[in-house]
Symmetry: C2
Subunit: 253 residues, 2 copies
């Protein structure tokens, strides 16, 4: 499995939870690879070099989707991108750990998805079968995804009627639009609210361990499959399913 | 006003829309400052240097919120952060333009918010009044925010029942959790769907101009004020308001 993390301080609560979480997974007999983005010095910015290291694309002609796909298919991506892609291929689960900044992932982590999850690799058209690779036809079907996050907000602020919105809704673009989109089975995130006020790490750690212990047995979020007739050709939920309703939760069920 | 943009290619549709949008705003008599993050070489990664350039914080002791606030208050932030903060202070409106990648902003733009919108500047406690600076008490009250984005999805996929979720919900963390949080009046985003298939830029440009022409007259999204009794002390919407409902839209009205 792959433990992806993104906190700038090795002395942080996030770093302590990472170390103890990885250790726990080892104890359970898992092989854990890490991508600790800060310590790797990961560059999160998509640039023309992602369009192919051999035939460098001029910046004014760089077309992100087209050129990164071509680089993937022609094996000319930057090495650091290929290394991360191989880690994803080898992993049966991704743990994605980060402090919630501005209700999203830190830039260094956003840019891991921007650079690594490119067309051809994480989605797109399968060149052999011509099939659309996404959701239940995605390339990462069979892998699990587990988001682990800490936030300053109190617990109730991310509850169903909390002012920040429910975490699964606030992070819909990551959970559904990214992780489920590529085919992964997405678990309910583990989130530590009021994380600036943790006095004792022991119960926090135990709570995280409980989730890690059940990484392969907990039921994932039941997002609707996309190719079994629940959606129209225009990618709208069909009228007879939750008729008249809208909102992000209609895509679960 | 400040036009913030984040596309890696100067030959892109985004770049063309940026140039023509800025030109339009000039024609309307506005003073427009630009932060074109790619051409600036903006570094989006929060690191220990954001905790103060004078007394460099060791990486293992860096505490993001505490140390960046201290750096702000003691005038020891990195110069490039101060420059961006001054631009925000001087602006009566922010235009935030980006291609939608993985249902969010590109890393280089996420890291602009991560580094520039720090405690003390964009939110926190006002040191003089002791007042909480957020939402209708936020430091950026009176400024307008307008998101301009392009996406690969077709229009219906981001409609009320579209598989990607409505844009205002998918971007709730940016629109509500970031822009409205700091006090700005947030306009409904302008979004160009199926942007890979634009054949003629003229109608697209005109559609964007129509919105720019009304930047200061269009009604902003009516997010609920947070300090007028609609929320409990735990930051939940009070029971009598939209009773029994949940979802991100309950925070509008």
């Amino acid at each position: 499995m792959l433990w992806l993390s993104a906190h700038p301080s090795s002395g942080s609560l996030n770093a302590a939870l990472r170390r103890s979480g990885v250790e726990r997974l080892h104890q359970l007999g898992n092989h854990v690879i890490e991508s600790d983005l800060y310590s790797m010095g990961w560059d999160p910015v998509v640039r023309a070099r992602d369009g192919g290291r051999a035939e460098q694309v001029p910046t004014d002609q760089f077309r992100v989707s087209r050129d990164t796909r071509r680089a993937f298919l022609s094996d000319t991506q930057p090495i650091e991108v290929q290394v991360e892609q191989q880690k994803v291929c080898d992993a049966d689960a991704l743990i994605i750990q980060f402090p919630l900044w501005w209700y999203g992932v830190p830039a260094i982590l956003k840019g891991w998805f921007d650079r690594v999850f490119i067309s051809g690799f994480a989605f797109g058209i399968n060149p052999e079968t011509g099939r659309k690779m996404r959701f239940e036809q995605g390339p990462f079907v069979g892998k699990r995804a587990f988001v682990v996050t800490t936030l300053g907000d109190r617990e109730s602020a991310i509850g169903p009627r909390g002012k920040s919105g429910e975490l699964t809704q606030m992070l819909f673009g990551l959970l559904h639009g990214t992780l489920a989109y590529t085919g992964m089975s997405v678990l309910t995130p583990w989130a530590l609210a009021s994380s600036d006020f943790v006095k004792d790490i022991v119960p926090v750690q135990q709570s995280l361990w409980n989730r890690l212990d059940n990484l392969f047995t907990d039921d994932p979020i039941q997002y609707r499959p996309q190719f079994t007739g629940q959606y129209t050709d225009l990618w709208e939920l069909k009228e007879h399913i939750r008729p008249g309703e809208s909102g992000l939760d209609i895509h679960r069920g």
